[in-house]
């Protein structure tokens, strides 16, 4: 269920190691006698400066890294035998992944962070004014501070050479952590790639591949990655990059390469137009409008970025750099930044397998049911080197599913992220079939058949008759308790729940559900497969609705009640998105499917009783009877016309709601109250899941809610929300709602504990 469209900025937060940040030069003037992070050797008259963090797989701009870098630069500048320098990383796949987030988090006040930023600005300014040409040789991720290191080196002295490797990406992802590029990035980037390009990079935080970067003017020259030679491809590629960079450095000194790029006609025209103040004002206005529309004003970082860029362009560099440092300090202290950084750490934690290495890796996997989910699971599996069987019972269904997988990869071909040959070769690992042929070789079966216990039982019996003893049976269900499904199994220790979210290729979350009988190795194997599929994983205990569905159900029940009380679906959507949900509650119900929602509401209603009440389930049931099943049927809360983005409220829904109309109680029906009615039920249920041990901890709870259900990323998840907002204040609101509606709003014990003692926090 829970088919959320891509969330806002956060959903793009890939697991890639982008740390953020910029020049955190708390330049300590202590000298390290032996340098271990940055070293250099002089080759002819070129100083080759190599960065290599001995304690990590990636280079980060730590205090020591920056101190040593400053030292080395000073030596290089003072060395008369050196005409030019090459800056390169000795790590394959990483130039500088950014600065250590912990450095910022260690700061207690905005002023401290501002000071960090100013130190960074100063160092880069010194480098910028270096009389000796510097070539940056980039292989692998060059993000945040890494990019700024280059930008700092821009202007007249820097020349950037990058490999075309898929791992080479440039970008300024600070905005995704609620920050801004704080070491001069906001000031230098607009000069380099133009104002529109700079806004695009800084406001979306997207990663830019090397070839695109060349077109934008972020890099000057590209180098191809090499294949097998006399050394390993990775090693030799770095060597080759260094050779090319050294040659470039020499050519710059000999004036064979000009550092200033010749501007094309378009570029000149753009520069001219952007030279007009009126035009620039219009750009600020448009960009601000877009940001407000997307973020509802809930995220301060994009607005501060615009403000900072504007300060530099309109009032000169001094004001610009000052504004950057100050705004950087302010942003670092915001709860939004704190929440986003928390999610980043949580996401990293949920990309690890805490159950260890499975006994045998899954090489052959079968999926039962080629529907939307089944085909989606196949799509994220087949390109990971796993032979995948997609089985359905009907030719039509199978054909539709295979087409879905094909389309997924063909779209990538069209976007040129893979070649048509890669597409074909990936699809050669996919077998579509109607029978159980080859199941004896399969290491894991994931069933994604219709959500009906009897059908699931039938399937599990059929499958167990053909699979080998080691094979794991995973069931993709959104609400049926796994132990009920496992009841039909001869080997319950091999049965596990894998709850994917639709669309599978876009939604990052995977909720894995274990029963008392599920073996640890089965769990380890399921997590390993999920990680291969690129998922962020939470592992939860069994129970009706597990974690995610269980949190969502009361919120949707409340949403139905709100509709019954006469709130228009559009208004309901506006209230929820206004709170920070990327998708409004009514739209979400349509996306999930009204039939699924009705099914879940009924099931969980039976399991949990009146606490899951609120709206009348009959509303959903009647909608299903009339064929209003949501987006998939073309009508739900809204009417969907193919090809049209805008949607109108379903007129028949109004009549239907009229029938079930409830009188709204004005004391709990203000906009803010409606928002809190929806959110408090969600949050209370989440906390109860932790209380009951369904959840392993608040981190997984936050990640599950944000990545699976679209809980507002700026709030960091239900648990961080309780910490920030205050459990006592939340309980107070809930008591008021409880007074009107009863036990649906009764705060759970754990929440009450936190309300009583303000020192109790979910996140330290």
């Amino acid at each position: 269920m829970a088919s959320l469209r891509a969330l806002g900025a956060l959903s793009r937060v890939t697991a890639r190691r982008y740390n953020v940040m910029s020049g955190t030069l708390c330049v300590m003037y202590s000298h390290f006698s032996v340098r271990s992070f940055v070293n250099y050797e002089v080759k002819e008259d070129v100083a080759v400066i190599r960065m290599n963090d001995p304690n990590s797989k990636v280079n980060t701009l730590s205090v020591q890294m920056q101190t040593e870098m400053t030292e080395v630069f000073n030596e290089v500048l003072a060395n008369n035998a050196v005409q030019s320098a090459v800056l390169i990383s000795s790590k394959p796949g990483c130039f500088i992944a950014g600065a250590d987030i912990n450095m910022i988090q260690a700061c207690k006040t905005a002023e401290e962070v501002t000071k960090l930023s100013q130190e960074g600005q100063k160092m880069f300014e010194r480098i910028e004014n270096s009389p000796k040409p510097i070539v940056a040789a980039i292989n692998g991720s060059c993000l945040g501070g890494g990019l700024e290191t280059n930008l700092g080196l821009i202007s007249s002295t820097i020349y950037r050479v990058a490999t075309k490797s898929k791992k080479t990406v440039l970008g300024t992802p600070e905005v995704m952590l609620g920050l801004l590029p704080g070491a001069g990035g906001t000031q230098r980037l607009p000069k380099m790639v133009g104002i529109p390009g700079a806004f695009d990079m800084m406001l979306t935080g997207k990663n830019i591949r090397a070839d695109k970067a060349k077109k934008m003017g972020l890099v000057h020259q590209l180098v191809d990655p090499l294949g097998p030679g006399l050394k390993s491809p990775e090693e030799r590629t770095i060597e080759y990059l260094e050779e090319v960079a050294i040659q470039c450095a020499k050519d710059i000194v000999n004036k064979k390469i000009a550092l200033t790029r010749k501007k094309g006609l378009m570029q000149k025209a753009q520069d001219y137009v952007l030279g007009i103040e009126f035009v620039r004002q219009q750009i600020y206005k448009t960009v601000t409008g877009k940001v407000m529309k997307m973020s509802k004003g809930l995220y301060p970082a994009p607005l501060k970025i615009i403000e900072t860029v504007k300060a530099g362009l309109e009032q000169g560099p001094d004001s610009g750099y000052l504004a950057e440092a100050q705004n950087f300090g302010k942003l670092a202290m915001t709860s939004e930044s704190n929440a986003l950084i928390g999610l980043y750490h949580g996401q990293v934690a949920c990309k690890k397998n805490r159950f260890g290495v499975p006994e045998r890796p899954v090489k052959n996997l079968a999926i039962l049911g080629a529907g939307l989910m089944g085909a989606g699971i196949a799509q994220v599996t087949v390109d990971k080197g796993i032979n995948t069987i997609l089985k359905d019972t009907m030719v039509d269904g199978l054909s539709r599913g295979q087409q879905q997988v094909y389309k997924g990869f063909n779209d990538k071909t069209k976007k040129k992220t893979i070649t048509s040959f890669e597409r074909d070769s990936i699809l050669s690992s996919l077998t579509g079939q109607l029978d159980y042929k080859g199941f004896e070789k399969v290491d894991m079966v994931i069933e994604a058949v219709f959500e009906d216990l009897n059908i699931k039982h039938k399937v599990i019996k059929e499958v167990e008759a053909v699979i080998s003893p080691h094979c794991i049976f995973a069931t993709n269900t959104s609400a049926l308790p796994i132990k009920d499904i496992a009841a039909a199994s001869k080997r319950p220790e091999k049965v596990i729940g894998m709850h994917y979210f639709s669309p599978v290729d876009k939604m990052q979350l995977l909720e894995i559900i274990t029963t008392d009988k599920t073996s640890k190795d089965t769990t380890a194997s399921a997590v390993a497969v999920g990680l291969k599929q690129g998922k962020v994983i939470i592992v939860v205990g069994d129970g009706p609705g597990f974690y995610t569905t269980r949190c969502l159900a009361p919120m949707l029940a409340e949403a139905v009640r709100v509709l019954q009380e006469g709130v228009d679906p559009k208004k309901l959507d506006a209230l929820t998105t206004g709170f920070g949900f990327p998708v409004g509650a009514a739209t979400l119900a349509d996306e999930v499917g009204i039939d699924v929602a009705a099914h879940v509401a009924e099931d969980l209603g039976k399991a949990f009783g009146s606490r899951f009440g609120g709206g009348n389930v009959e509303v959903l049931k009647t909608m299903v009877e009339k064929g209003f099943k949501g987006r998939k049927s073309g009508k739900g809360c809204y009417v969907y016309t193919p090809g049209l983005k805008s949607k109108d409220v379903n007129p028949d829904l109004e009549d239907l709601l009229e029938k079930y109309k409830l009188a709204a109680n004005p004391s709990v029906s203000s906009d803010s109250d409606v928002q809190f009615r929806l959110v408090s039920r969600f949050v209370n249920e989440a906390v109860m899941c932790l209380q009951e041990g369904i959840l392993n901890g608040p981190v997984e709870g936050d990640i599950g809610a944000v990545f699976g259900l679209g809980f507002p990323p700026c709030l960091g998840g239900p648990f961080r929300f309780v910490d920030t907002f205050g459990a006592d204040k939340l309980v107070e609101k809930m008591r008021r709602f409880e007074h009107v509606y009863g036990n649906q709003f009764t705060p759970c014990q754990l929440l009450l504990d936190h309300a009583k003692d303000s020192n109790k926090r979910f996140h330290k």
Binding site: V223, L226, G227, P228, G229, L230, V244, T419
Partner: protein, 463 residues
């Protein structure tokens, strides 16, 4: 430049060993090999003779011909050279890469045109730069008792290549064929836009990787640390040796060809020994600005055709021929088309030697196809590397490099030219001629082709 059509051709390496049976007892080499490489119960297959048209830079004297014209010239040359009766062969096979759509079975068109009997079946094969190697190895039909005499050859004509209408335009034109009413026709014609008129050139890039072969060669050279200087030196060596061979009349496989409406052609025209200074002036052709592969150290686009007469030993002797060499063994290998596209010779050489029961030292004559100087140098370095052999080939030790004093002594594809489909027969004929001239016993042919494939042949000189 070599770029355009090289891609469809991947690397094939042929090793033919031709042993000179009679000299076996005399030469110390033979005591090591102990045998003639003849296999019990298998017919000996011999190369009776081989010829080729002069290889010309495309766009020169052959410019107005068609591919089958060149192939016909080679076939006629072979008939003339061997005085072969026109009905004495059982089969004609040709290799080609860029097919002229009008003569897709170019073997048949050329054979009929050359006056061969119309009772002789012909077929055309393709396997990139080693297409004619495939044509020759199809002579296995002799060993299988299917035939006794086969003509194999190759042809490539780069002065004209099929340039197609765009897919959109083709679709419209085909729909136009099926349109029944004037209205339908007019609406189809009306749907033609400027975009329809953009033509489609033959693939410049490897289909699977979208990388041109020159680009791949440049990366390969970089991976093995082959410098620009080494490449230029090798290119210069190729041109210098080719010029010497041409001047001293060693290239006896070349026949004269009176081109209709033009002059008589009797020499390859791409051999241009130059100086290192001049070579150093050229800019990189593929990877700019820091690449090392230039127009001068790559093989160039060439027109040309070749043909060889292959028979069972008994048949050749019965017809009164004195064969030039035995065709002994061959192997095809293929690798990753992206990063090892042109490394075929490294992989194929040890395999074919093992099959033939020989070692590198037993080989007297090496003929390797020179697609790019950088590719040859990279292969030589790979063959000299224990690390490469252990890491990628599963061998304990390096393959070993062929000594340069036995290597491509009469020039190579860099200087003589490289008509893709025709090069294989040139290499094989050259080995036979060099074995005779230099008094060697075993020869090895290696060629790489697009798709990361390679063919190797071992030849044994005929006593």
């Amino acid at each position: 430049m070599a770029s355009m059509l090289m891609n469809p051709l991947r690397s094939f390496l042929f090793t033919f060993v031709f042993p000179l049976t009679l000299s076996v007892s005399v030469s110390p080499v033979q005591t090591k090999s102990k045998k003639t490489l003849a296999k019990p119960g298998v017919k000996n297959i011999v190369l009776v003779d081989g010829v080729r048209t002069p290889f010309l830079t495309s766009g020169t004297t052959y410019a107005d011909l068609m591919p089958h014209d060149l192939a016909r010239a080679a076939l006629q040359g072979l008939l003339h050279r061997t005085s072969l009766p026109k009905d004495a062969v059982d089969y004609v096979i040709y290799g080609t890469v860029i097919q002229e759509v009008k003569t897709s079975n170019v073997a048949r068109e050329a054979s009929l045109g050359a006056g061969f009997s119309d009772k002789i079946p012909c077929h055309t094969v393709t396997m990139a730069c080693i297409s004619s190697n495939v044509a020759m190895t199809t002579a296995g039909m002799i060993a299988a008792g299917q035939c006794d005499a086969i003509v194999a050859g190759g042809v490539e004509f780069m002065s004209d290549v099929p340039i197609r209408h765009s897919r959109k335009m083709r679709k419209t034109m085909l729909a136009l064929n099926r349109a029944k009413t004037l209205g339908q026709r007019l609406s189809l014609i009306g749907s033609i836009r400027m975009a329809h008129l953009t033509p489609e050139l033959p693939a410049v890039a490897e289909f699977s990787t979208a990388e041109t072969m020159g680009h791949s060669a440049d990366r390969l050279a970089a991976a093995f640390g082959v410098s620009r200087l080494e490449q230029d030196e090798f290119a210069l060596r190729s041109h210098t040796l080719a010029k010497q061979a041409q001047d001293s009349g060693l290239l006896s496989d070349v026949i004269s060809f009176k081109v209709p409406g033009r002059d008589m052609v009797s020499k390859d025209n791409g051999i241009r020994p130059s100086s290192m200074e001049q070579l150093a002036k050229l800019k990189p052709a593929f990877i700019k600005p820091h690449g090392t592969v230039t127009a001068a150290n790559s093989s160039f686009l060439t027109d040309g055709a070749s043909a060889v007469l292959i028979m069972s030993e008994e048949k050749a002797l019965a017809m009164g021929y004195k064969p030039k060499a035995y065709l002994r063994d061959f192997v095809y290998v293929s690798q990753d088309p992206k990063d090892q596209l042109l490394l075929g010779p490294t992989y194929g050489t040890p395999k074919v030697l093992e099959r033939a029961g020989l070692t590198m030292n037993d080989i007297d004559v090496f003929e390797f196809h020179e697609a790019f100087a950088g590719q040859i140098m990279a292969n030589l370095k790979a063959m000299d590397s224990d690390w490469f052999a252990q890491t990628y080939m599963g061998r304990k030790t390096k393959v070993g490099t062929p000594p340069m004093e036995k290597f491509n002594l009469w020039g190579g594809s860099l200087s003589l030219g490289h008509p893709f489909g025709a090069t294989g027969c040139r290499l094989v004929t050259t080995v036979a001629h060099r074995l005779q001239k230099e008094g060697g016993q075993y020869g090895l042919v290696a060629a790489c082709a697009a798709g990361g494939q390679l063919s190797m042949k071992v030849k044994q000189a005929y006593p």
